[in-house]
């Protein structure tokens, strides 16, 4: 089923997330990132940071739930059980640290049909409490076509 192309260019209400020392530690431990700047406040400060630094891929913790709200909107027409994550990027404006209260705004950058598969690209712009850019993520999901003959 083709996706609703009117979603392209839309944005959704901002969501706020407070980055914590313990969540950074938990995420860093889960990916084996043992650099002390992820775990030890003093080490992070000695390295020039305000507080412990989140790993590069940490933002998925809040950008994916924000994106998922749109993915699950029945009006979009995407069947999540058939979704494959095809591409992902993150561009960092400044390190994300414990204590940051960030705001995520989700936008749909692109929707296209690729041989019957639905391809949709989400962008999430993340800003800090002062409104300054922190990072931007992009995720492209593919809703695989139903097998021929199924309804």
């Amino acid at each position: 089923m083709p996706l609703d192309a009117s979603f392209v260019g839309r944005t959704w209400p901002a969501e706020t997330y407070e980055v914590s020392l313990e969540k950074i530690r938990e995420f860093a431990a889960a990916i084996g990132a043992d650099d002390p700047v992820h775990h030890d406040r003093d080490a992070a400060r000695q390295a020039g940071h305000r507080d412990v630094v989140a790993p590069t891929t940490f933002p998925v913790v809040f950008t994916w739930p924000a994106t998922r709200r749109v993915v699950d909107d029945p009006a979009l027409g995407l069947d999540f059980t058939r979704v494959v994550h095809r591409d992902q990027s993150v561009e960092v404006s400044r390190p994300l640290c414990a204590g940051d209260v960030v705001t995520s705004v989700v936008a749909v950058d692109d929707i296209r049909d690729l041989a019957g598969n639905d391809v949709i690209t989400f962008r999430v712009d993340v800003t800090d409490a002062d409104g300054a850019a922190v990072l931007t993520t992009r995720a492209t999901l593919v809703g695989r076509a139903e097998p021929a003959g199924s309804s």
Partner: protein, 139 residues
Amino acid sequence: MSALTDASAGDQLEPRTVTITRADLVAYAGASGDLNPIHWNERVAVEVGLPGVIAHGMFTMSLAARYVGDLAGDPAAVVAFSTRFTRPVVVPDDDAGATVELGAKVTDVADDGTRTVSVTATHEGKGVLGKAVATVRPR
């Protein structure tokens, strides 16, 4: 300075082998909040047509980004990372897990020292990350 921040365009950096076990996937599921059962439940994975439980693409990307941060000697120097998830990493129900080979090559050095790094990740000889590129900017 580090292996990466001293490297020139064309330099191949020290590779790394990482292993992914079911326990790693459970820990990542909890830490990331991605509880999709195809990453921890064999029955569900097979039902949707997969060969077995597969690693989160974001977990493999996380290992690759961490590798580049380690090469740079500073995780915060990795200012961009992009990739395509080309093949799933099937993680067996054993203690050995799945093995992923990571590699990195500097493809460009800008005037300000920013390095563009082409990253490879292979599992059983086949690429699992495609067109993976990191941008590393020494602080």
